[in-house]
Amino acid sequence: MKDVITLLRPRILSMKNRVASGQRRGKMLVRLFYAMVGLIFWAGLFAIFYRVLRYFKNVEVFGDLLAFKLLAMSLITFFSLLIFSGLLTALSKFYLSRDLPLVHSLPVPSEKIFLARWLEASADSSWMVIAYSLPLFLSYGVVYKAGALFYITLLLHILPFCLIATTLSILLVLAFAPILPAGRMRSLSFVLGILVFLLLLISFRLMRPEQFANPESFATLLVYFKNMEMANDPYLPTTWFFDSIRSALSGATGKALFHTALSWSFCGSLVYLTAWIAGPLYLKGLSRAQTVYGKRPGFPVLRRLRWPSPLQWLPGPVRAFVLKEIKTFLRDQTQWPQIFLLAALIVLYLYNFSVLPLERAPFQIVYLQNLFSFLNMGLAAFVLTAVSARFVFPAISIEGGAFWIVKSAPLSAGTYLWIKFFIYFIPLLLLSELLIIATNILLRVTPFMMTLSVITMLFLAPGVVSLALCLGTLYPDFSSENPAQSVTSLGGLIYMTLCAGFIALVIALEAGPVYTIFMGGMRGASLSMSQWIWLAGSFSAGMILCFMSFVIPMRIAVRSLGEKLDG
């Protein structure tokens, strides 16, 4: 055990040293902010579960049925999340970590290394699921006025529950690592995981859950649940957890402890089995992971063909970076799920507009359609901000260790930044315009609103992209393994805040004049001279703001990148 603790010590000491040395004000602020966001999210989850459970409890006959069905479904969701997160963590910890060659060169038996990594992987993959499952469990405790038995059972059971899921993931990884290279397996599981999540998300949305708010639909739902078999599979760890919680809530101590013991005994056996299997399999998989790189499978003859570049018309440096960015993005499989995610969110975004029950609204449809269209400008701009945060903000950091190439290239900081700007600006502008036009068509808005939306987006997009590039240049992270995560830094936070302010201000400047024009049009009244002046002033102010948000950040970014040469 001493060796296992020694193996874990670098991780613990690194964390300790990071806390001790990373107390810069900026970092502290970011951590504080994310802690606050996390806490608010946690409290929000608790409030939602509490309200739902209270509501269920008041439903006669079916209340408890619904509450426990929710619990069973949530446990299955948590278990699936744990398995998924366990897969990715196990692949990293056991096969891809940079310290593995060092660790395996030490005079420590490989089973001890395995045990240390198992502990680390279990902790890393479970802590977040535990943290965010607590609001659910606590709300059951509060609503059902549970006693100490419930909380003790929860505490005793959540640990084997997580360990079982992680160990199952490790077992799966152990089995496949000697066949599939760990790097490819990680990409594959990530892509598959996200795809499954998206499918679930889309199918859930297409079910139109808002219809359950309709009393007739809700009655059907109740009948559905009543007819549903409540018995869960007795061989599933989720069933043991479910049964022990239910027993603990009803005060059945014996049953609650029996199911907890069942989980612990299974967990113990599983860990023993995994450690036993790891003996012959782990090193085999690890050797494969360390020596996977070689020539790519496929058709080398095709790769050797030199196709004429469709971007030949671009100036050399521009073409160089455009091609580099596109190829790097397309060849990095870890980036693909984000594209799927983006595509799915856009589909849902458009779908939400297509099912808006405008005809049932108590206002005039025209008024509502145009109001939504106006709000939609803000929403689309926020979508643009989020996409820019993911793709434009890390555009400088993404150069990573290869930033020396940019620095030593015969290219000024300004040219380099403008190239980056246009690489991202053009597709993002197209995306946002497409989004706004499609939603406006679905809303059947007036030509005035359509024109205004398109023009507003045309003016907002350069500012949003320019701000992302500026903050990404001011707060680069060249050492990160995943530059996309740099958006969670202080720079990312400032970017999101500034962008939100910028969009809100432009929309606010347009809101008054648009309302006046719109209402005037509806009443058939013409505008007075003072109204025209106000209109011109307001729109001009919006345009100036957009122009400044575009030019000033780019200037700051160019100056900052020039200074980065000094780093």
Binding site: R296, A320, A402, W404
Partner: protein, 247 residues
């Protein structure tokens, strides 16, 4: 003598740390100049300032008569820069990286097509030209960087630790290449820890210690300076850079 590299009072401060102090140096056309010094002496800092990768705190750098401060783009066009660590765009293939470099340096299509294959063949990378760089070994990446640096036929090649990660065949190949380039008029400035490489390749050697250039000359001039006779570069180097032992 045509001065291709000129460093005038070049200094670099990192906070209060004086990494390079008032360096004055000229390197002539077709010369291979070796830059040696102990760890932390300021070699890499000097090399990076010359490549335009970092800015000097004070002083001037002229490449082929062009000021790096006043016209960095034109100065860099004349340089082939080879860093000590081969960080590259891992998701590009070797051939794509060469094309990327060619585009950045405005290399004509015909010249690229002529040079790229020759370079890849010379560095035994032709079979790997269409494989992703992430699948290359350290030595292959280093060879690719050297290849990319000579692709645009620069006037000056600045190299930081040229032989790191190369096998004996690779080292011989690079040495022969550098000699051939120098004969053709290319100026080479190389920083190295390997005294054997410096002795073997360089006509003149500069020794940097604690940020200052303490000696410059060919081996016999350095011997005189160190007051050691018939010694190799190692003995000269150790003598010149030896620390004062406190009594």
């Amino acid at each position: 003598m045509i001065k291709v590299i000129e460093l005038k009072n070049l200094s670099k401060l990192y906070g209060s740390l004086r990494a390079v102090h008032e360096l004055n140096l000229t390197v002539a056309e077709g010369e291979i100049f070796g830059f040696i010094g102990p760890n932390g002496a300021g070699k890499t800092t000097t090399i990076r300032m010359m490549g335009g990768v970092i800015l000097p705190t004070q002083g001037e750098i002229y490449i082929d008569g062009i000021s790096m401060a006043a016209n960095p783009v034109e100065a860099k066009k004349r340089i082939g820069f080879i860093p000590d660590r081969p960080f590259l765009y891992e998701k590009l293939t070797g051939m794509e990286f060469l094309k990327f470099t060619a585009d950045l340096f405005h290399v004509e299509k015909a010249l690229f097509e002529k040079n790229a294959e020759v370079i890849l063949r010379m560095f035994s990378l032709l079979d790997w030209a269409d494989e992703l760089i992430e699948s290359y070994s350290h030595g292959m990446k280093q060879r690719l960087i050297i290849g990319a640096a000579i692709l645009h036929e620069p006037r000056v090649i600045i190299v930081d630790e040229p032989m790191v990660g190369l096998d004996p065949a690779g080292i011989k190949l690079v040495k022969d290449l550098f000699r051939r380039l120098a004969r053709g008029g290319t100026t080479l400035f190389l920083s190295t820890h390997s005294l054997e490489v410096a002795e073997d390749l360089c006509r003149r050697i500069g020794i940097i210690h604690r940020g200052s250039l303490i000696a410059t000359g060919n081996l016999s001039e350095l011997r005189q300076l160190a007051r050691v006779q018939e010694s190799d570069l190692e003995a000269v180097f150790l003598k010149l850079t030896e620390e004062d032992v406190p009594s």
